[in-house]
């Protein structure tokens, strides 16, 4: 009891130092606990993101099989097969379904391709637009857009060819008579969300209607009873999906259970009844990211813990020295070694015991705040066994610090202990050797990491890269601060004989104080690390912005339906006539010939809308827009039923060509008219075109001799191109006096001949080989199609070809290349949408269509698109993508590093102030004595402040440049993405961020120095000389 009372009195007597030890110990514990706490929370966040963002077809455990859907027990067979497989946490009960492909034909209408679907509970996941969702055996619900597109209404009878029933009206015969099922539309629906996990990612909603022929429309939902009326056997698909219905309920701790349950559910491969899922691969990817995040967070927080431990060691050393006289007194009184040790260690141990829960709480609160701002919403902060282990380790580390700090007190003779002051020369030499050894080890470690990074850009191995900055900063900081000692020594010598007493006192004290330069080294290391972290974070933030932009393509990407009844391009032109904020994009994978995806854009809108970064490569967005839309003559519009060309031809030798006029209608595909043989002399050649009912442009003049097996010589001049209007024949602006507005291509054979233009018209001369059919084509469409390619796809100047949906070869050329392009990344090319639509067929059906919205898009942009007649499927934003990327493991680790490094720098700056507080009582005797002998308080104040400024300045002057150099060297070693990315991430110095950090840090340090110096001087009152020295 007396001991406790005495300990409390001692704590109160040295309250400044004791509180500092308590704070330093708590910070050490907090820093150690930070890693496990944050990595556990980050793992929960990553799991949530992985599960919630995963496509439904990945997370669903799909269980389906071909079966005779007319057999009533088929569903039961599947259900019983499935029921033995148990349940899976986070997943709902099985969703049963039966699907049969069919066509649906209304009376007196065109057939549409679709599928008859019964999916248990589908009514809960669609909006009924009209009618009802409850269906009988001969009733169906169809999609509202399909109904609108093909003219179905409530009450429409649909004949389903794929669902054959017994024809009871047929007479008896040797063969069973069947008839297609006829059903009645009783409702129309719209899916609440096509990405609703309930739909399991299945293609229930394909929509490519064709008013002129069989198109594809969304599923029609039927009653399960309908299948029982079908002819045996009717093959379809019967399935039961397990849908991940509650991903947010799953925690990291549940993952082993989830994995085991999924594996148990999948069971052995039994042939047809094998469930499939991508969730195991998803969990594998999560585990990989989790382990790298855990390692990265551990490495980062270990560095902070080490810094905090060093601070603790310095503080405990200072306070131990303050207890040195008590230990000497204990020895003098003959206390046994154990009692002497108790005197020496009682206080730090009590403080460490107090600090452990305080530090844990501190770390918990800190991580809770961090989690709220950077992790997925609702992620819990969990204290794991690893956290307790880290706290235990930190406690042991604190004990080691206390033992190391007190070790000399145990062994030093009593008299020496009373006489002890300052650091011995031998200690200084040992310190230098220790610093050099530490620096060499750190540099060696960095070299190893730099070598390893070549073979590991992601994963746990790469996570060790987080050690690199710390190692480099430690090495450089320790060595450079060593150079500060002679510099400060020179300052002492120069001011010794001068009248600048404050300068002398400050510089002398900065050099003399044992902990001074140690703290300056610590400060330099932490400021270096913080500078690196600020620079790296700014660079990574830029990289994330660029990645998010590249992934989405624009600030907002709206997936839309390409409806032949309402062309997206025309609708966007109506919604955004000035082309400032919206652009149509077709994402298409050619049928062959060209690797990767082909992204068709509108070059005139590209710069205003697309997210484009200098990191993509040398081609700017303006360059890309210009390259994709070379200067071409304006199209020649046709508004007529008859087109005429006037041609003057020389003698036609052999079998001459036939003159055929080509135009492009709404489909933008070249169409050739009937042909007329070329005749010598000047003649008009007329062709009928349907350009009164559709929008057409002139495409060119084909000299057709594709079936002529003989050479020919041609010399002709096209003198006029006219169209017939109500006012008679009028000339079209065909640019016949400009040879560059036309080109020669080949319908068959190779392009042959020369074009020349004059006031008389366009002259074409050629010696044609057998079968050659030259096409004098108006050059309003680029040919070959210019592509801006990803460098991985093709180098600039490479001739390319690709195959369209109808199997036609389309020539293309890479006009330039970037490492990365929007949306397609490093695996695709950009081209002009209009040109592609004119060159490639089946694009409308095969491509995914988007409308990208740029930064100037109005808030109601999507409503405007809808108002213009566009059917919007889903909306993806760059901000959402950025949010997702920002919660990936590497980004989280970097944020932790930034926070830890800044906290570390604050700790080190605080350590100097703490050092003032801890040594304040002793220092105040010296200052009081100087004051008593007549040194002015102004000089003392200047000395006190200058001492701090010199030490802080050393840390800042060394730390910031070291941090910048380290950023250049170590940033490339840090994994910034969980998986490899083609996007070149910047490693440039982020000047503004670093400058702001430096200025703020310098201001804080100066304020701390002034406040600390003034506080120190306030203690230096003459009465202090009468007190008992501690």
């Amino acid at each position: 009891m007396n001991d406790l009372r005495l300990a409390l009195r001692a704590f109160r007597w040295r309250r400044g130092g004791s509180i500092v030890v308590l704070v330093a110990a708590a910070l050490t514990v907090a820093a150690a606990a930070l890693g496990p706490l944050f990595s556990a929370a980050a793992a929960e966040s990553v799991l949530q993101d992985r599960l919630v963002q995963a496509r439904a077809d990945v997370t669903t455990i799909a269980f389906y099989t071909p079966a005779d859907v007319s057999y009533p027990g088929s569903v039961d067979v599947v259900a019983s097969e499935q029921s033995g497989r148990g349940s899976v946490p986070g997943y709902g009960p099985p969703v049963h379904e039966t699907v049969v492909p069919t066509s649906a034909t209304p009376d007196n209408g065109l057939a549409a391709i679709t599928q008859a679907v019964w999916r248990d509970g589908s009514c809960d996941h669609v909006l009924i637009v009209d009618g009802t969702c409850t269906v009988g055996p001969d009733e169906v619900v169809v999609s509202s857009r399909a109904a609108d597109s093909v003219g179905w209404v409530i009450g429409t009878k649909l004949t389903l060819d794929g669902l054959q029933q017994y024809d009871n009206t047929a007479g008896s015969g040797s063969e069973i008579a069947t008839t297609p099922a006829v059903v009645t539309v009783v409702g129309t629906y719209r899916p609440v969300s096509v990405s609703d996990p309930f739909w399991a990612g299945r293609p229930y909603f394909p929509f490519h209607p064709n008013p002129d022929g069989p198109g594809t429309v969304d599923s029609i939902f039927v009653s399960a009873d309908l299948f029982a009326t079908l002819v045996h056997p009717t093959m379809g698909t019967i399935g039961a999906d397990l849908v991940l219905s509650e991903p947010e309920s799953l925690r990291v701790a549940d993952v082993p259970t989830l994995r085991a349950a999924v594996e148990g559910y999948l069971g052995p491969d039994t042939g047809d009844l094998k469930p499939t899922t991508g969730v195991l691969e998803l969990l594998d990817a999560f585990e990989a990211e989790r382990s790298s995040t855990t390692l990265a967070a551990g490495v980062v927080s270990a560095q902070l813990a080490l810094l905090a431990w060093l601070l603790l060691y310095l503080v405990v050393t200072d306070t131990s020295e303050a207890r040195g006289s008590e230990v000497a007194l204990a020895k003098l009184r003959g206390l046994p070694p154990r009692a002497v040790a108790a005197v020496a260690l009682r206080e730090p141990i009590v403080l460490l015991l107090l600090a452990a829960p305080v530090g844990l709480l501190l770390a918990y609160g800190f991580v809770a705040l961090l989690a709220r701002s950077v992790l997925a919403a609702g992620v819990p902060v969990v204290i794991t066994p690893a956290t307790y282990a880290a706290v235990g380790l930190a406690f042991l580390g604190g004990l080691v610090a206390a033992l190391l700090a007190s070790r000399r007190m145990f062994t030093r003779p009593v008299l020496e202990q009373w006489q002890q002051s300052g650091e011995s020369t031998g200690g200084g030499r040992r310190g230098l050797i220790a610093d050099v050894v530490l620096a060499v080890v750190a540099l060696g470690g960095f070299a190893v990491l730099a070598t390893r990074s070549a073979s590991a850009s992601t994963g746990a191995a790469a996570a060790l890269g987080w050690l690199a900055p710390g190692l480099l900063v430690i090495a450089a900081g320790l060595l450079l601060v060593r150079l500060a000692r002679p510099v400060l020594g020179a300052l002492v010598r120069s001011s010794r004989a001068s009248t600048r007493l404050g300068m002398f006192l400050g510089s002398r004290q900065a050099v003399r104080r044992p902990a001074g330069l140690r703290l300056a080294a610590l400060l330099a290391v932490t400021i270096g690390l913080a500078t690196f972290a600020v620079d790296a974070s700014a660079a990574a933030a830029t990289g994330r912005d660029v990645r998010a932009g590249a992934d989405v393509g624009a600030q907002v990407s709206v997936a839309v339906q390409q409806d032949p009844a309402r062309d997206v391009q025309a609708a966007v032109a109506e919604a955004d006539p000035e082309g400032r904020w919206a652009m149509v994009v077709a994402d298409w994978i050619p049928s062959g010939g060209l690797a990767g995806r082909l992204l068709a854009v509108q070059p005139e809108r590209l710069a205003a809308v697309a997210s484009w970064s200098g990191e993509y490569g040398p081609v700017s967005v303006e360059d890309a827009a210009r390259l994709l839309s070379p200067t071409l003559p304006d199209p020649i519009p046709l508004r007529t039923t008859t087109v005429r060309v006037r041609i003057t031809s020389g003698p036609v030798a052999g079998t001459g060509p036939k003159v055929t006029i080509a135009y492009r209608g709404d489909s933008d595909v070249p169409t050739f008219t009937l042909s007329t043989p070329l005749q010598e002399g000047t003649h008009d050649y007329d062709a009928a075109v349907p350009c009164d009912v559709q929008t057409c442009v002139l495409n060119g003049i084909l000299l057709d001799r594709a079936r002529v097996n003989a050479p020919a010589s041609v010399d002709l001049t096209v003198e006029a191109v006219q169209q017939k209007t109500s006012a008679g024949w009028t000339d079209l602006p065909a640019n016949l006096d400009d040879a560059a507005a036309w080109r020669v291509t080949a319908y068959t054979g190779t392009p042959t001949g020369e074009l020349a233009a004059s006031s008389e018209g366009l002259r074409y001369t050629a010696e044609l080989p057998p079968y050659a059919a030259p096409f004098v084509q108006y050059a309003d469409v680029a040919l070959p199609l210019p592509l801006v390619t990803a460098t991985q796809i093709a180098q600039p100047g490479t001739d390319l070809r690709f195959v369209d949906g109808n199997g036609r070869d389309v020539p293309a050329v890479s006009v330039d290349s970037n490492t990365v392009l929007p949306l397609v990344g490093n695996a695709g090319s950009l081209t002009d949408l209009v040109a592609l639509r004119r060159s490639a067929q089946q694009l409308e059906d095969d491509a995914d269509w988007y409308v990208w919205l740029g930064p100037e898009a109005p808030p109601d942009a999507i409503d405007r698109l809808r108002a213009a007649g566009i059917t919007v499927d889903t909306v993806t934003t760059q901000a959402e993508r950025l949010d997702q990327i920002s919660r990936e493991g590497p980004a989280l680790a970097l944020r932790l590093l930034l926070v830890c490094a800044i906290v570390g720098a604050l700790l080190a700056a605080g350590a100097l102030a703490i050092s003032v507080a801890v040594t304040g009582r002793r220092r105040s005797y010296e200052l009081a004595a100087l004051s008593a002998v007549g040194v002015s308080r102004g000089a003392l104040l200047r000395g006190c402040i200058l001492e701090q400024v010199l030490l802080f300045g050393t840390g800042l002057v060394v730390g910031v440049p070291v941090g910048l150099v380290v950023a250049r060297l170590a940033l490339p070693l840090l994994p910034q993405t969980p998986t490899a990315t083609a996007l070149p991430l910047t490693v440039d110095v982020q000047g503004v961020a670093v400058l702001v950090f430096t200025v703020v840090t310098a201001a804080l340090l100066v304020i701390t120095a002034v406040v600390g110096g003034a506080a120190l001087l306030r203690q230096a009152v003459p009465d202090r000389l009468r007190e008992v020295a501690a």
Partner: protein
């Protein structure tokens, strides 16, 4: 005075004790062949100027410093042959030490009683139960009025008297006191001297006090002087060593200085048996 004296006075004997401080700049002779004996219960003042070696002698006797040569016996036990642990036990049970600068003897944050308890913590076994309570000790030493206060705010004289009390906390047989009055005014100095004298008389404790102040030494009984590491017993005052420094100057013993105060004149008389220093009466008469 009702306190119990656990240890009656212990005798002390130093035999040709010498000590040399070694340093990178060279060796310094601090003690040279010091031989002295202190009887049990006796109070001895070791008088000498600064740097004469008196504190070194005290540190050797306290077991805080191993002598370079010679032996020290305390109560018949040769402490120069003791291990560090035995020395600790000796200091815990039988030997009280009051070091120079009273603050070094005290826990500044504790009360006077806390300090007494702290000083008694090294005592083990049956002796522990027989120790005087802190209050009793302070009362016995006339320091009851200090008992409940934290010593950080004590005056110099109070701290010094409490420091002496700390030395007596374990009722030792031998109390060693180093410069107990060095920073005190006359009144406090007298109070401390009275206290030290009372300890010797009333507890039977052998007391050795090191001081540079002749008046303090005079108030304590037997005195030996120590000069440049050599000790002279004042009981044999007709023989005393003096040193002639590099400039030929001699520092006279204090008692001789009373006869020949600084500024007086003397005659040096050469005789067959030696040199005689005779006061010049003419000079004295002026």
């Amino acid at each position: 005075m009702t306190t119990t004296a656990l240890e009656t006075g212990l005798s002390l004997h130093c035999e040709r004790v010498g000590h040399v401080y070694s340093s990178p700049t060279g060796d310094t002779l601090a003690l040279e062949d010091v031989t002295l004996t202190v009887r049990a219960g006796e109070t001895l003042a070791v008088l000498g100027p600064s740097g004469s070696g008196k504190s070194t002698l005290l540190a050797v006797i306290a077991g805080l410093l191993a002598p370079t040569s010679g032996q020290v016996w305390v109560g018949g036990d040769e402490m120069t042959a003791m291990s560090e642990r035995e020395l600790l036990t000796l200091r815990a049970h039988r030997l009280g030490v009051v070091v120079q600068d009273p603050a070094r003897n005290l826990l500044p944050y504790g009360t006077a009683e806390d300090n007494v308890r702290f000083a008694q913590r090294g005592v083990r076994g049956f002796r522990r139960a027989s120790l005087p309570s802190p209050a009793a000790l302070l009362h016995a030493l006339g320091l009851s009025h200090l008992s409940g206060r934290a010593v950080g705010g004590f005056s110099g004289g109070e701290q010094q008297r409490l420091a002496v009390a700390m030395g007596m906390a374990t009722s030792p047989g031998l109390l060693l006191v180093d410069e107990p009055t060095s920073q005190l005014d006359k009144a406090n100095r007298d109070a401390v001297v009275d206290l030290v004298g009372a300890v010797g008389k009333q507890f039977g404790t052998t007391v050795v006090v090191v001081t540079h102040d002749p008046e303090v030494a005079e108030g304590l009984g037997r005195t030996i002087t120590i000069t440049q590491g050599r000790a002279d017993d004042q009981t044999q005052h007709w023989q005393q060593h003096v040193d002639v420094d590099a400039d030929g100057r001699v520092q006279l013993p204090d008692d001789v200085l009373r006869t020949l105060p600084p500024g007086s004149r003397a005659r040096v008389v050469r005789q067959p048996s030696g040199i005689q220093l005779v006061r010049d009466d003419k000079e004295q008469g002026r």
